[in-house]
Subunit: 185 residues, 2 copies
């Protein structure tokens, strides 16, 4: 059974992904995670900022896991990115465009004035870049080129998620398949 | 002299760009725009949602204007995008990473549940795509290819802005120059 602390992080991660940072209140987190009143500052003495930073890391890792899976199962990096983009598009549609990137909304709201949130977001994106880069290097791409291409791939997907969620239409995300193929082949 | 309505839109646009939608309160808008109390619902009967949607359009148009300028002054589309990306990176650094895309934060927070905000964000992004597409077509790129490349370019820049603002480091944005050159040449 999940501990109170785990339930709070799971609930916070979901609320942050769907609503963003400012709209997510601590009372809502406590209620929806069925946590005892007063437990929040026991588990997260740094308050909302600490809770949000840890929740971002946790939900970011869940996307890192799905990226890792597609990279392990596809024959090429480009093929893996095609699968990942399709998975994200399907998930966006299935949730009425609520479930976009679990990190971007909060990072855009809070990273300029929160070290903890900036650090958490940076680490999540760096872990995606590292996975794609390592896979490209396995395919024989030179290290500096692999790094640049991996950053460009993550940026392309993040940007396509912004356009798709904004317009509630996954066209931009599905088109990203084509330029990711060109970028990574 | 700017009218009350114009000042409210300007103030809202700046607050939305720096703080996002949920964190921007109507009292703050009224105070910072030196608007008479009660004038908000006179000018914006649709309340915060209408005010935010109009402010997004307005601040999006300001970026459309700067994109239009670089496209008019550079010799190639790729060269124009390089200038635009450098301009955005400089602006992000000069504002301690507060002044990212004026549309993305609010769109990610609110587009899934606000038609007005989704429509405003969609129109802003579409106007950027249309400008880049038209310029590519002027260079002889076929229409469907020009459209796909223009969407990819806007997505690449939006994504690089997300990564750069999150990590308070413009490396991703500056690297986008290379990727955009390959995409648009």
């Amino acid at each position: 059974m999940a501990t109170t602390r785990e339930r709070m992080l799971e609930t916070t991660g979901r609320l942050l992904q769907h609503q963003g940072y400012a709209a997510t209140g601590l009372n809502q987190v406590v209620t929806e995670s069925r946590a005892p009143k007063g437990s929040l500052y026991f588990h997260f003495p740094g308050g909302k900022e600490q809770l949000a930073a840890e929740a971002l890391e946790r939900s970011g890792q869940s996307w890192t896991g799905s990226l890792d899976e597609v990279l392990a199962s596809a024959r090429t990096t480009a093929g893996a990115m095609r699968r990942w983009v399709r998975l994200l598009a399907t998930q966006l549609e299935a949730t009425d465009f609520a479930a976009g990137c679990p990190v971007a909304t909060v990072a855009l709201e809070a990273a300029p004035h929160s070290d903890a949130i900036s650090t958490a977001a940076t680490q999540v994106y760096a872990s995606w870049v590292a996975l794609i880069r390592a896979r490209l290097e396995d395919e024989g791409v030179a290290s500096s080129r692999a790094r640049t291409a991996a950053v460009a791939a993550v940026a392309a997907i993040e940007g396509a998620l912004v356009l798709s969620k904004s317009s509630r239409d996954t066209t931009a995300l599905r088109q990203a398949e084509t330029y990711l193929r060109d970028l990574l082949s």
